[in-house]
Every structure is written in C-alpha cells, then in structure tokens.
Amino acid sequence: MNEGGKHKTTARKKSAVELAEHVVEIVSDSGEGAQKCGQSFASIAARMGNGIWTVEIIPAEIQPPARSVEGASGNRIRLGSGAITNGGDAADLVVAFNEHVLLGRLRDGELKPGCIILLESKWRTDRDPEISTLYATICNELVEGGYRVYEIPMETECLRLVTDARRGKNMFVLGLLCRIYSLDRALALEQVALTFAKKGESVIAPNQRLLEAGWGWAEENLDIRFSVPATPATEPRLVVNGNTALGLGVMASGMEVCAMYPITPATSASHYLSEVFQNVGGVVHQAEDEIAACAFAIGASYAGKCAVTITSGPGYSLKQEGIGLAVMAEIPLVVVNVQRGGPATGQPTKVEQGDLLSACFGSHGDAPKVVMAVSDIEDCFYSVITARKIAEMFNVVVVLLSDASLGTAQQPFPRPDFHEDWLAPPVDQSPVPEGVTPYDWNPKTGLARRFIPGQPNGMHTLTGLAHDSRSRIAYDPAVNQEGIRRRSLKLAALQKTLKTPPLFGDEKGELLVIGWGSTKGAIEEAVQRVRADGYSVSALHLKFLQPMASGIKEVLQGFERVMTVETNWCDDLEDELIDEENRRYSNLAWMLRARCLVDIDCWGEVKGQPIKPGRIEKAIRQRLR
C-alpha cells in the first residue's frame, strides 16, 4: 500500500519527468464534478499550448447509484506536446473519487497496466464496515495487480476549507493535477475564475483556495511530477466540443430555424443554440415529436429560410418520410444526425457509426440526398456552413453525420474568421419571369430555380406526389421517370465539383485503410505507428459519402489490399457460419465494394467507445502478416 505521506521527504525535490503525451482520467459518481475538473484541466493545458483531446465519460442514468461500477462519470484528457487527434489508448493516470467507479474503467479496459491511481482514501475509515472492508480489499488487489495506488485524503483536506466537500473536491483534484503536470499556477487560478464567472466572487474565491490546497498537498506529499512540454500557441484557438461547434456552425451558416426534439446525444447542440440563436435572429423550435420537427424545418425552408433539424438515430428513423418529401419537392434541408448505438433505443450515450446506409438510402423509393460526415471538432463547425450552401444551391437534403464521441469531445482548432459569404442570401421575393416553371430543370444538371411564397407569378402547388416541371401531379408514366432522373442528376452535378480526398501516406503500398467520420484521428495515428515500423500502409478519409468524390477507385488501385475501419458492425470471417457469400460488411465497405468493384475488407468494433488507435493498429498488423 502506498500511503501518500510516505513520499513526503522526496516530494519537494522531485524534478518533473518529461513526457511527449499522457492520458489522464478523472472519474466520480454523477454530480461530484469530475467533468468540470477534467474540462478545466484540459482548458488550462490548451491555453499553455498543449495539444488536447477530451472524452466525456457519461453514465446512462442521470443519477446512477452512488459507488457503482456503472455510475462512472467524468472526463478523459489526452494531452500532448503536439497536436492530438483522438482520445488515445489506455489511461496513464486516473483520479477516482471512489474505488467502484475506478473498477468500472478497469472493467472497460480503459486503464494502462501499472498506471498511476489517485484514490480518495476516506472509504478506508468509513463507519460502514462493509464499505471499509471492500475498499481495503480492492486497494490491495490493485496494488498486487501492479497499479501504483496513491491514497489521498481528498475529503479531509477539503473540509479544512469548505463545509461541503462533495462540492469542492473537484477543484482540489484540479490543483493536484496541475501540480503533477507542472501546469501554470496563475493560469489555473484564472481558469477557476472563468469557470465560475457566472456565480461571482463568493464562489470563485473558495474554489481558488481549494485549487491552491490541492496544489500544495501534491507539492508536499507526492513524488510524481511530469511535464508535457507545450509549444505556446501563436494564434487564437477555439476550445469547444463537437455539438457546440455544430451550434456555432448553424449560427455562422445564416440559417434561422432549428427544429428539434430532445434526444441524446444530439440535444446539447440545441441547448447551446437555445441560449444564443436568438441573438442572430434565429429560433430553436422544440417540436412535439421528431416527425413534426422535420416537417417544421421543411415548412421554414419552403418559405425561404433554410432550416436545420438536429437529431440522433431513433429520431433520424422517424424523419424518413419527411426527408423523402423534401427530396421529392426539392426543398433544401439540413439534417444533422449525431449518431449513437442502434437499432431501436440502442446505446443512447455511446458512439456508433451505424447510420451511414440509412443516411444514404433511407426513405422509401428513390430518394437521392447528400451525405457528409464530420471527422473532427473543427469540421463540425465548417461542415454546417457547407451543408447549408449545398442544400440551397442544389435544392437537396444534406445529411450531416456526427456521432456521440465528437459531440462531447473537445479539441482546440484555429479560431474561425467570419466571412459574410457563409450566410444565406436574402429571401428572393422578385417576380418570376413569364414562362418559367416551378421545376424548370436544367436538362444537363437537373438543377432548377426554386419559387418561394411571396414571389409574384410563382404561384404553384408543391406536392409530394410525382409531378411534372409545372408541379402538376403526374398521371403520365414518362413524367415520373423524368422527375426521378432530374433529382438523381443533381447528385452527379455536385459530384463533379468534389475533389479526391488527400491520402495520408504514400500513393502505393500494401494496405489502404479507409474511414469516415470520427475515426479519422485514431486511424491516422494507427497507420503512422505501423509506417514507423516500415510497413507501407496509407489512410484515406472520406467527407462526402454521397455523392462520393471522383478518383477514389484510382486511389484504391495503388494498394494490394484495402480495408475500412468503422465503428459499426461487420461479420467476422472467423465465425463458423460466416463466409464470403453471407458476410455482412461495414457500412462504408458495402458502399465502396458496390461503387469500385474492389474486394474491400473491413474491421470494426461496436463497444460504444471510440475505437482506439491501438485496436486499429492490431487489426492492421493482422492483415499485414
């Protein structure tokens, strides 16, 4: 058993061990503030110039039972000297407010063998013998298992300063961590002031004292000290999670209407918009259901104000009929799907990339729509602007796929410079020239000018029925054929404007790994690791999934083998029943196989967690043998 005090004599003199990067976790019961602690820690590191990526650790319930394995709530912060593109592999250091939440992380394989554990020690002397005995047993097992356990009297120390330690422990821990990682003390104090700015000086001051206490305690008692050298930033950077970036993107895109229905993990984007959207003349409409949210957005777009509806899997399923209507009637619409585990209710707080095929092919009949995926936090911001522009330029539905991991992850990116051309033009209310019809399809591109209510001479009845260029119901079979052709052509017209995505690595080699969405950072890190060992492996990441940029087939031909890595299901050929004829592939693999006629392999995991670079690395190495 390592007692914190044991190292007292050496603690002060200990110089910091320099690291390229470290993965830190803070876990507590829900409501004990571990998330705030983690976010503050990340912000301080980011302000010092460190690369960071944060991952929220979220239990499924609002108030899970205290001291439970399932109840772990908190934050993972991966900090490094250079840019960090994903949450990394296992944790190097974990702070736990009780031993059960710690076991939760251990069970999930999130802790590196032998990692440092800073554990609240108050349970050792708990009045309930069951608790104290269990605590002691688990501590022993951890130490025997090779973990470096430091028991820290967090509560006792906090009670010297505040009466309710449950509400202050997180800032004490923040102080500990800032000292351990040699962060700037003044910056840390300032961060506390920023965190509690809304609550005023009476809250800021005690929290700053708690931070100082944590710092001091670590200085006195701990023999661990690291530094992750940072390159001080030279440009302003934004630190937000993916859903906030989405909300900022909606504001910056000139859209004025967001219609939504509460659904995890998408809702925080709408929470953010609800706070600020009205400052730019926008409205967040919380509809009575997902179907109504979609229909409302379609109504607003039809009336000239391109709208967005933000949802997740089950809501996305419910919107299918509405999406089909927007496709049929050629009304611009942006649909954001922050994917979670499925089908049905699935895993609401967990990540999965299982909705690509339903995004591309959902809704009955032939319903061509544009599908884009965001791959990092910065992308969440800019993609909304692009999506709105494409929606209005081509009068199409644009589905933007994010996921639970990006929605809650933070990664700094250069502060955007606002451009007025991000915004939508004013609603066209000019008279429609004689002879122009509501769907005056360009014979080559399928594009047509859209008439907006209020425009003289533009009167017509838009319909979800098959219709001709005058928006009249098609009773003639040739009219339906022509309408479908025109709508399909629009995707080809867009596709002609898309550039082949750049390769990560060389143009030729043994293996190409293809991904889409939030896996980008992890895939590229894994590829980099095997490349460092001399293997000729490259990575390709797709932003446009439908239509797909040209030139992809040519890229694939430079490699002996091609595989996708996705956070969705694919059958394993090792399974007894599975063979080439019945194997179900990952979403993107299906699409690429069909489009490129290449025998594309796939690997994926659906454990509700972002796929770790180490797991991808292993899958790659297996295929290299």
Binding site: R47, L238, N279, V283, A303, G304, Q429
Partner: protein
C-alpha cells in the same frame, strides 16, 4: 429581410386591377359530384376575392386525403405534403413569414388520426393561421374505411360489422387544449353561414379551427340526411360577438342559442351535444398567446448581427496566445 423586400414590391403591385373569383380558381376540381369539399372551396375563393388577397401572399397547406387536394384548386401557393403533417409544415412556414396568409386544409383521418399529435400541439402553439377540418366521418381516398370521427356502428370496409367505438369529438377535443383561441363549426350545406365562419376565422389573430361537417356522396351518401332534411337538428349559435342572428339565418334555423364565444364552459357543453349539430363560433379568445410572437427575439438576421454575435460567442471559447492575452480579452 422579408420586410425590406416586400415594401417596394407592394408599391410595384399596388396598381393591379381588382381580383376576380376566377383569379383564385385553378384547375377544375377532381372531387366527386356533390362532395362537400366543393362548397368549402367556393367559400374560400369568395373570401379571398372579398378580401382582395394577393395571390402570392397566400399559402394553402394540406396533408393527404380527398380534402388535401384543396391547394391544387387554388391559384395561389400551395403545399400538398405528407399524410398528417400539414400543421407542422404550416407552422414552419408561418414562423419567419408573418407576411403570408396561411390556410390549412385537413381531413378527419389526416388531422384526428395520423396527425393527431400535431393537431393538439398546433392548437396550443396558436400560430396565426386558418385551419379547416373537412370532416366527413369516413376515409374517402382509400375507399371507405372508418375514421376516428365515424360514429359507433358505422359500417365500412374495415368495420363491416359496424364501428366498435364512439367517434372522437373534434370540437370537444380542441376545446380541451391549453391556449386554444378559436373554435367554430359549420356544415357544407349552409354556404352563407360557412362563408361567415371562414371569414371570421380568417380575421382572428391566432389559430382558428373550423370543423366543417361535410358530405361524402360516394361512400356515405345518406349519412347527414337527417340533419339536412330537418333544420330543427341544427343549433344555430348567435351572438353579437360571433355570428349575429340575421333574418335569413333565423328563418332557416329555428333552433337557436345566444352563445357568448368567450364562455368556454358553455362552449364545451355545446361541443358535447349529440342530438344536434351546433353551428357557429363556439369559442374565441383574442388574448391567447401566439407562439410566433413569443419564440425567438425581435433581432433580424443580418450579416451585421450575425458577425457581431458570432464573434462574441467565439470570444467565449477562445484561448488566446500568451502575447495576445491581455489585448484580446480586454
């Protein structure tokens, strides 16, 4: 931005000639001969003509069903969308376009069955629009299935032994929703009265809900005969704040009640009558809040407001490099 372009446009079009009835008439309706929808269409076209409503500022939104073909027969903007979803589409249209007059035409299946959730919430949102429920108590377009308003015992293709349950009462249901602001009822065979109701509904600020009892000559030809043939079975609601009792109306409908449209309790009792069809304005509350007036803000979306407020938001999340720290964060 809508406002800034509509002003010169109004000037440009102010010299146009008066609108005639045929200006509002599109193609010949494909409804059956004797269909009650025809009476509703005629009343609406008359209203538009009488109010001289510019064609381009009118939007008729519908769902799916016989009634929902309505927009195709108006030479205005129309939105013939999805089964049950006319109301949320209409709400989206109205939200940012106060300059447009929005009408919704929906049927008993469209409104009271597949779109029932939207119906209740639309009443509560109380956005400024005129909603006409074409209620013939049967599904027509799909060929004679029981609808939620079909009376108990009604034989249809899905209830060959008679409908199992009492029909849903659209008036009573609507009058049970918080923030309801206008509820009226009319019958298709009393065109002058129907016109009056639609006109008052149009002038009401908020969502005006009109249930129009409507005949289906194809599938329930004799369904309302007893009411048509016996004027005693209609109850004419009159009031100085509603439809006044004109000599013509009084002659046609001997059964009358002076009903104050601000009296919601009596309105609910009237709505629950089973032996007679009440016609008139059951309830009106001009003070009910309109959602579009309270959601969002008065800020207009202009490049300047977006720039200013977006920059302020970005500031909140910006980590400034050390040298710019003081300068940037003031």
């Amino acid at each position: 931005m809508v406002m800034s372009v509509s002003a010169p446009r109004c000037l440009q079009w102010s010299d146009r000639e008066d609108y005639e009835l045929e200006d509002y008439e599109a193609e010949v309706p494909r409804w059956c001969t004797g269909c009650g929808d025809l009476a509703i269409l005629a009343a609406v076209q008359r209203l538009c003509r009488d109010e001289q409503l510019p064609l381009e500022n009118l939007v008729f939104v519908s769902g799916i069903g016989c009634s929902s073909r309505f927009p195709h027969y108006m030479k205005t903007y129309g939105f013939h969308g999805l089964h049950g979803r006319a109301l949320p589409v209409a709400e989206g249209i109205k939200l940012k376009r106060p300059d447009l007059h929005v009408f919704v035409n929906t049927g008993d299946g469209d409104c009271c069955s597949i779109g029932a959730a939207h119906w209740l919430h639309a009443i509560r949102y109380n956005m400024d629009m005129t909603v006409m429920l074409h209620d013939n108590e049967i599904y027509g377009l799909t060929k004679k299935q029981a609808s939620p308003t079909s009376p108990k015992g009604l034989k249809s293709n899905t209830t060959p032994r008679g409908a199992y349950l009492e029909g849903l009462n659209p008036l009573a249901t609507t009058l049970g929703v918080a923030n309801v602001s206008f509820v009226a009822q009319a019958v298709d065979w009393a065109p002058a009265h129907l016109y009056e109701i639609i006109s008052q509904a149009f002038h009401h600020k908020g969502l005006s809900f009109i249930r129009i009892v409507q005949r289906c000559p194809e599938f329930l030809p004799a369904h309302f005969d007893s009411f048509m043939q016996d004027p005693e079975r209609l109850l004419l609601l009159t009031h100085e704040d509603g439809i006044p009792a004109t000599p013509d109306l009084s002659r046609a409908y001997p059964q009358r009640e002076v009903h104050d449209p601000s009296d919601i309790n009596r309105a609910r009792e009237i709505a629950s009558l089973t032996d007679r069809i009440p016609i008139g304005i059951l309830y009106r509350n001009e003070a009910a809040v309109c959602y579009e007036d309270v959601v969002g803000s008065d800020t207009l979306s202009t490049p300047k407001t977006v720039r200013t407020n977006l920059e302020a938001e970005l500031d909140k999340f910006t980590v400034w490099p050390p040298s710019e720290e003081r300068e940037g964060r003031g």
